[in-house]
C-alpha cells in the first residue's frame, strides 16, 4: 500500500530535504518543518501500518524503531530523521511470510481489532532484542507504553512469551 499522496503546497514554514532509510529502502523527500514523523510515514509515504491513537505520546500505536531505538513517531518531527534508519511494522514479515513474533500473535490471539498491533509488535521486537527471555513481568514493563483497549493484554503477553520461547528473541538479538 505505497500510494504516494499529493504534496501539500500551501503550508507555510520551512521545507527540509531529508534522506531516510525505511525497512532497507531509501527515500529522499522534502518535508515541512512541522510534519510529524508518523504523518510523514502514513500520509507522505503511504506506510499506513503505523497508527495514531492519541496526540500526546501516551498510547504507543505509532511506535517504530529509529536507529535501533524504540520511539513514538507522533513525538518526533520528520526533519529529525534525516539520515536515520527506521524500522516499521511493514518490515517485519520476510518475503511475505510472518516472522516468529507475528506468527505467535496469530497463534495466541494476541490481537483483536489490530489497531494497537503494529505498535505492540515494534515494542515487543525492541524488548526481545534487549532481553531474549523476558519474564511475564518484564514483558508487561516492556509494553507499558502501549495501550490496547481490546485484549486486556493477557494474550499479548502470552504471544510475546511464546515468541521468545520459539526463538524470536535470540533471532532479534543476532540481527542487531
Amino acid at each position: 500500500m505505497s500510494d504516494e499522496r499529493d504534496p501539500v503546497v500551501s503550508d507555510e514554514g520551512t521545507a527540509h530535504a531529508i534522506e531516510v532509510t525505511i525497512n532497507g529502502e531509501t527515500h529522499k523527500r522534502t518535508v515541512l518543518a512541522r510534519q510529524l514523523l508518523v504523518h510523514f510515514l502514513r500520509d507522505t509515504l503511504g506506510l499506513q501500518g503505523t497508527h495514531v491513537g492519541c496526540d500526546t505520546g501516551s498510547c504507543g500505536a505509532c511506535s517504530v524503531i529509529v536507529d535501533g531505538q524504540l520511539i513514538k513517531s507522533c513525538m518526533m518531527l520528520a526533519p529529525q530523521v534525516d539520515g536515520a534508519s527506521i524500522e516499521t511494522v511493514e518490515g517485519l514479515a520476510q518475503d511475505g511470510e510472518l516472522n516468529v513474533l507475528q506468527r505467535s500473535f496469530n497463534e495466541n490471539h494476541g490481537l483483536q481489532c489490530g489497531y494497537c498491533t503494529p505498535g505492540m509488535l515494534m515494542a515487543a521486537t525492541d524488548l526481545l532484542r534487549r532481553n531474549p527471555n523476558p519474564s511475564e513481568d518484564e514483558i508487561r514493563h516492556g509494553i507499558r507504553g502501549n495501550i490496547c483497549r481490546c485484549t486486556g493484554y493477557v494474550n499479548i503477553v502470552k504471544s510475546i512469551k511464546a515468541a521468545a520461547e520459539a526463538g524470536a528473541g535470540a533471532a532479534e538479538e543476532a540481527s542487531r
Binding site: 500500500m1 500510494d3 499522496r5 501539500v8 503546497v9 500551501s10 503550508d11 507555510e12 515541512l32 512541522r34 510534519q35 502514513r42 500520509d43 506506510l47 499506513q48 501500518g49 503505523t50 497508527h51 495514531v52 491513537g53 492519541c54 496526540d55 500526546t56 501516551s58 498510547c59 500505536a61 516499521t88 511494522v89 511493514e90 517485519l92 514479515a93 510472518l98 507475528q102 500473535f105 496469530n106 497463534e107 490471539h109 490481537l111 483483536q112 481489532c113 489490530g114 489497531y115 498491533t117 503494529p118 511475564e136 514483558i139 508487561r140 514493563h141 507499558r144 502501549n146 495501550i147 490496547c148 483497549r149 481490546c150 485484549t151 486486556g152 493484554y153 493477557v154 494474550n155 503477553v157
Partner: protein, 828 residues
Amino acid sequence: MSSVPVAQTTVESVEKPDRLGEWSGKSIPRKEDGRHLKGQALFTDDKWQHRMGYAHFVRSPHAHARIVSVDTSRAEALEGVFGTLTGDEVKDLSEPFFQIAPPPGGNLKEWCLAVGKVRYQGDAVAVVLAESREIARDAAELVEVEYEPLPAIVDGIAAADPDAPLLHDEVGSNIVWHGVYDYGDIDWALENADHVVKIDRLHFHRFSSTPLECNAAVVNWEQGTGVIEIFSNNQMPMFASLVIGPALGVPSNKIQFQSQDIGGAFGIKIGSYPQITALALLSKKLGRPAKWTEYRTDHMLSAGHGNERTFVDIQVPVMADGTILGVKVRAFDDAGAYLHYEPLGAVIWSQVVPGCYKIKHVQVDFTETVSNKCPTIPNRGYSRMQHLWLIERIVDVVATELGFDPVELRKHNYIQPEDYPYETPNACVYDSGDLPKALDLALGAVDYPAWLKRQEELGTGSGKRIGIGIGTTLDSGTNNFGQARIINPELPFSGNGEAAYAKLDLYGEVNLNLGTTPQGQGHETTAAQVVADILGMSPDDVNVTAGFDQRHNTYVAFSGTYASQFAVTGLGAAMGAAEKLRAEILKVAAYALEADEADLDLGGGQVFVRGDRERAIPFIGIANLVYSNNAVLSPELAGSVSLNCRHVYVPPFQVPDHEAKTGNLTLTYASQTHVCVLEIDEETGHVEILDYAVADDCGRVINPMIVDGQVHGATALGIGAALFETFEYDDEGQLMQSSFYDYHAITALDAPHIKTEHVQTPSPFTPNGAKGMGEGGGAPLHAVCAAIQNALDDGAPVVSESHNSWERIYRLINHEPNAPRGVEVVTR
C-alpha cells in the same frame, strides 16, 4: 405472598442443525490477523481520495453559552483552506435529527452543528475543510466565535429541579424521560419482610471504553449521482443511515456506508452520525471529499461517554433466611447535552431487572435528564451494567449488614439451573445457565479458601488489607427493538435480525458476506467455521468478505455490530445462507450424478454419493453447470437455482406490552462470574490486584480462543473503569480528563493476569446454541467494589461509587469514626 406476574412470554425452542462440529468449537487462528500483523489493514484514516480535504471541527470552550456570532472570514482567508460550514448554514440546509423520546423530551432539537446555543464543552459550532490536517487545525483556531456564557448544570439530579438552568427551551425542563417500572408488589414485600435494608445513594460514574482508533470518516457527496459515499468506522451504519437520511432529506438508497477494519468501538462508535452529517454538507458545499479523524482530545470531549446513573432511596426487603424479596429505587440517568441513542438507556437496563437472582418485586422510578456534559452513547455493557452494579452492590450490602456469607447469600438467591427457562418479573425469559457452578469454578480458580486464610492471617497492624469480591453479571444479547416502544409507544420498531449472503463463485469458490461491521471480534473466522461445517469444507476455503460495503453486502435495518449478538444473529444468518446454498448444490449434484439427493453428502469441496466417493462432483462442476453450461440442465432446474443465497435470521420475538412495560426484551443471557482478590495499602490507598478469575457461560462456543479474548478485554476495561478511568466535570462544566494523560486507560502494568473458566449451557432459543457475548456486563466494577468493601472494617461507609481512585479508597479506609455509613437496617 402476593401474586406473581402471569407468564406471558413464550419463546419457541429451536431445532438445532446437526452439522456444526468439525470446525465449530475449535480455537482456529483468525483469518483477519495476517493483514493486521503485516500493517496491511484498512482503517478509516488509511482511506485516501483524490481532491480530498481534511476537516477539523471548531468546538465550544464553554459548557453552556449563547452563540452571538461566528466569523469564519479569517479562517477562509488562510492559504490552503477550502471552506467552512457553520451552524446557521446547517439550520438552512438540513433538518434536526429525529428523536426517539416522545414529547416533551422528543421536542428537543439537535442539528449536526450547534445552532443558537452550545450546550457542552466540545459542542461543535463550525467545521473547516483544508488541504492538510495541520492547516485545517490552524484554520479552526482562526474561526472567531463570540459567546455569551450561561449558567451550566452538571449534576444529573439537580438538573431535574424546575429552577435549574434549562438546556433545551423547547422541552420545557431538563427531564427528557420519566417512567415507573413496577413489577410484583413491592409495598407488600416491604411490609412483610423481616428486614428492610436502606441505602441512601449509589452512583455509577461516567467513563468510556475509548477505542484506540478514534472516530473517523471520509464523506463524499458525489455531485454526479447524488450518492453520499461514507467510508467510516461507524459501527451501526444502518441506524446512522436512518437518522442521517431525513436530516439531509435524501433517500436511504443515496447513502452508502462502507468500512473495513475498525479499531475497536465498544458502542462508542454508534455516535458519529452528527459529524458524518456535517461532513456530508461540507462535501456538498465545497465539492470535495471530506476526511475527518478525531484527535484524541476531540474524542474525549465529544465522541460520547457511557451513561452516568445515580440511584437514591434504595429499599431492599429481605427475609430472615436471606431471601431478597425485592428492590425499590429511584434512578436518575444523566444523558448529557443531547439525546444520542437515548433515552433507550432508560429501558435497556430492564432486560436484567432481577440480575441473577429470584427477586420478584421491583419498583424503579426512572428519570432521565439532560445536563451540560458530553452526550452519552452506548458503552460496553450499556445500561444493563449500571443496573447490575446496583443489584450486586445490594447483595453485598445485604450480606455485610445482615451478616450473611456473600457466597452463600448469592447461591441462596441465584436463579437455579433447574429454573430455566426462567421468566423474570417483567416477562423476559432467561434461556439457560448454571450460576452456582460458575461461582464455584471462579472461586476455585483463585483458591478462595487460601485467600480467606491469608486475609485472616494478615490481621491488623500489617498496613495492608486484603479484600475479596464477587461480581455475578449477565450479558443479555440479541435485543428486541420492540423495547423502544416502552419508551415511546409511537415508535415503529420491534424484533431484530441480521442478513448474510452466501454464493458459489465462478470456479466453485465459496464466498460469504455479512451485514455486520466487526471491530476485532473475528467475524470472518467464526462465520467461516460454521459455513465450513455446513458445506463440508475447510474454513480456509471459505472467503468471508472483509468489512461492510452497502453497495454489495446484504443488510437489514438492524445490521451492524453492537449489543452482544453476532453469535446468534450474524451466525444465524450465515448458517441460514449456507444451508440454502447447500440445498441448491445438492439439487444440481443430484441431477448431475443421477442420484437421489437423500443419498448425497458434502465433503472436501465435493458432493459425493454416500458410500461411493468415486461418484462425485466438485463445486467447480456445480458452478460450471449453473453459470456457464446451463443448457445441459433441465429448464426447471436451471430456472430454480442461482447459487446466490441470501438469508435473514429473525429471532422469535413478540411486541412488548408498553403499558405494563413487560415482554421478552432479549433472546439470550450469557453470564460472567468474576472473583477479584486485591490488596490495599492503608497508608496510600494504593490497590494491587493479587488474583482474578472469570467463569464465563455463553452457551455453545464457536471459537473458544475468541470468546476468551472477549472476556479478557471486557475484564480489563471494567477494572480500568473501577480503579483508573473516569470522566469528571468541574462546576463550570469543564472536562477534567481530556487526554490519555488525565484519563488513565488501563495499561499492561495495571491489568492483572486473568484466569478463565467455562460453563457451557447451550441456549435452547438460538440456531446454534450460542449466546451473544462480549460486553461482559461490567462485572469487574461489581467485583472490585465488593472487594474494596470486603477490605474495609465494619464501621466503614458503604462503597457507593463505581469508581474508586486510590484517594477515595484511602478516605474509605481512614474514615471518621462516626462517619455516616449511607445504610440503615430496619428489622421487624
